[in-house]
């Protein structure tokens, strides 16, 4: 599903350049649930942004479901993001003046789906994350856990091939974090490919594979015995 080879990325800061990713080789197959771990500044978010076509690598290759991702213009990049990817952010990034339902329906708007069908589909995903009764509420009327559920519903709504989550439990307490991870595990059980960036060991243990990043290279890539989140809620 995801195939990257010898990926490099540096940031220019004034005259200096900061080499963040120094040759990443990495594969994710369909249906995997992978966590990327590493200390702060190790380049986790940088890697995830490149995978999410929000940023571009300096060199190396990236194929997403067999499609080469290179030198895309903004229009095609937007199209790929819409079709292939679902994002979940630490700070939720919901649009605060839209209701939960409208937030979930937004990616479908950009797919050119009619309003009626958009709302039907958005509603079914809100049901899936257990927030059907909250459909008409604005984000500021929801708890952190609820907001993240709305964000997950939104990420799922466009039927993406891959879900990308950056510190999705970073703003939540432990109990809520586990509830969210339970939802992530359920979605993965249904076959969705999911990548999670985290620096919390317990969250990582709830995935099926942990990739350790340090100073811009992968130092360890291991399969783990998945801990079911439900048992800890």
């Amino acid at each position: 599903m995801i195939d990257i080879k010898d990926l490099h990325k540096s940031y220019k800061i004034g005259k200096n350049s900061l080499h963040v990713l120094k040759g990443i080789n990495f594969n994710v197959k369909e249906g995997e649930l992978v966590s990327i771990m590493g200390s702060s500044g190790s380049g986790k978010s940088t890697l995830l942004n490149i995978l999410g076509i929000l940023d571009e690598a300096d060199s190396g290759s990236y194929h997403l479901d067999g499609v080469p991702i290179k030198n895309l213009n903004e229009r095609i990049a937007a199209n790929y993001r819409n079709k292939f990817l679902g994002f979940i952010f630490q700070s939720f990034n919901l649009i605060n003046y839209k209701s939960a339902l409208d937030n979930v329906a937004l990616p479908l708007y950009y797919q050119g789906i009619s309003r009626g069908e958009r709302n039907d589909r958005a509603m079914s995903y809100l049901e899936k994350v257990g927030l059907a009764e909250w459909a008409e509420h604005k984000p500021n009327e929801l708890s952190g856990g609820q907001k993240q559920r709305v964000a997950i519903a939104r990420a799922l709504a466009s039927h993406p091939k891959v879900l990308l989550a950056d510190e999705l439990t970073g703003a939540l307490d432990t109990k809520t974090s586990y509830e969210i991870m339970d939802l992530i595990q359920q979605i993965n059980d249904e076959g969705k490919t999911i990548l999670v960036v985290t620096h919390e060991e317990d969250i990582a243990q709830m995935t099926k594979r942990i990739v350790h990043l340090k100073d811009g290279v992968i130092i360890k890539d291991e399969k783990v015995e998945q801990v079911r989140a439900l048992e800890h809620v």
Partner: protein, 413 residues
């Protein structure tokens, strides 16, 4: 680009940001409001100036008969020329652009009486348009109309002086005055910027006058105006061409030597009005300039506010892009909102200004400001200006929005 879906999006964002949208709208609405009011005042001042400087319409062309001084086709000089109805018809034939037209027949002085009061006044047989040629304004009742003309009605419109002389404080409308042994019904009273002298006259239908005074189909003179043109040189050229043509037609029919300058007199008022034209056109230019500058300030205001809006919505735009919004859809979103807000509030300002002019305009009657108003075409073109303005105002913010990188917009602080 302007799909129903987009409209829904726009209304949603607008209704979520009522105050901001309202403030943007007010700046455009007031810009347009000021522009329209200025144009109205400009028109009003033009009316005022014309009224101040002219007893008669500023562009009136009068044609009088004279006495020939040259022999022509066997006819001796010293022949008096007399115009008839046919000559008037001839003068009009083939003329497409005539604004007002009238022939007249007059009796220099006749006694008019009402009860015990009487006085000697000039009697003029006229056509309906004569009112505008003379710049007479009706203060009561109406002027001579087509029906009076066709039915040979014994109707009379009297000057304010005449009314004061004969009726004192009594009302005159519908009363009968006696003229040459016949009773004429007073249908209107007029005032004329020419003052007492021009108000000491009475008007009756020319057809009636010709019968009552046994004039057959003789007329004394004829007057015309051409539609106004703002450019003096063009107006002069058009007017000269018009008179030259009439002169040629009349001289040919009445057998006047083409070189004879006294057989037919043509007086063209436009030659005396060059200064007024200049004054009016520079005034118009000035008002347009001020108006457009005001509007421009409004546009810059909208552009600024849209820029702030885009900046405020940077994060939202980043989210939209991460969810698959294409740059063009962001441009469309910002432009659409900008055009909608500008056009909508501009039209509100327009309606308000037009309403104000429509309502108060006719009441204004100062020396230099008469009936300020704006014509429909100008109002329409300002609406088009508004839509273009909205697009221009939205363009830079939209561009800025389209170039926002989602990764920059979404970075957690």
């Amino acid at each position: 680009m302007f799909s129903l879906e987009r409209w829904q999006e726009i209304f949603e964002t607008i209704s979520k940001n009522k105050l901001r949208t309202f403030l943007t709208g007010v700046s455009v609405a007031s810009g347009i409001f000021i522009l329209i009011i200025l144009l109205g005042v400009s028109e009003g001042m033009q009316n005022g100036i014309e009224k101040q400087f002219q007893n008669d319409a500023s562009n009136i062309i009068n044609i009088y008969p004279g006495t020939t001084t040259l022999e022509y086709k066997g006819l001796n000089p010293g022949r008096r020329i007399q115009f008839t109805n046919e000559d008037y018809e001839l003068a009009l034939s083939g003329k497409e652009k005539v604004e007002y037209k009238s022939a007249d027949y007059q009796i220099w002085s006749r006694l008019i009486s009402y009860k015990k009061e009487f006085g000697s006044y000039r009697i003029q047989g006229v056509m309906p348009d004569f009112q505008y040629l003379e710049n007479a304004s009706i203060i009561e009742g109406r002027y001579i109309n087509e029906t009076d003309l066709n039915q040979l009605e014994k109707h009379i419109v009297i000057g304010n002086r005449v009314k004061k002389d004969l009726f004192k404080d009594e009302s005159s409308l519908g009363k009968y005055v006696s003229l040459g042994g016949l009773n004429f019904k007073v249908v209107g009273v007029y005032t004329d910027p020419g003052g007492d002298r021009e108000e000491a006259r009475v008007y009756i239908p020319i057809t009636t006058a010709q019968v009552v005074f046994g004039a057959g189909n003789n007329i004394r003179s004829m007057g015309f105006t051409l539609p106004k043109i703002d450019n003096y040189d063009e107006a002069l050229a058009e007017s000269n061409q018009f008179t030259a043509e009439i002169e040629r037609q009349l001289k040919a029919k009445l057998l006047v030597n083409p070189l004879d300058t006294s057989g037919i007199y043509i007086s063209n008022n436009i030659e005396n009005t060059k200064e007024i034209y200049l004054l009016i056109s520079s005034m118009k230019l000035f008002f347009w300039f001020v108006g457009i500058a005001t509007l421009l300030a409004g546009i810059i205001g909208v552009s600024n506010i849209m820029l702030i809006i885009v900046k405020e919505r940077t994060k939202e735009i980043g989210i939209r892009k991460a969810l698959g919004a294409k740059p063009m859809s962001i441009v469309g979103m910002v432009l659409h909102e900008s055009i909608f807000v500008t056009a909508f509030s501009g039209i509100m300002g327009l309606i308000f200004a037009l309403g104000l002019l429509e309502f108060f305009g006719p009441m204004i009657e100062l020396d230099f400001l008469v009936n300020p108003s704006v014509n429909f075409n100008i109002a329409l073109s300002t609406v088009i200006i508004l839509i273009v303005a909205g697009a221009i105002a939205g363009f830079f913010p939209a561009w800025r929005g389209a170039k926002i990188k989602p990764i920059d917009a979404l970075r957690d602080e």
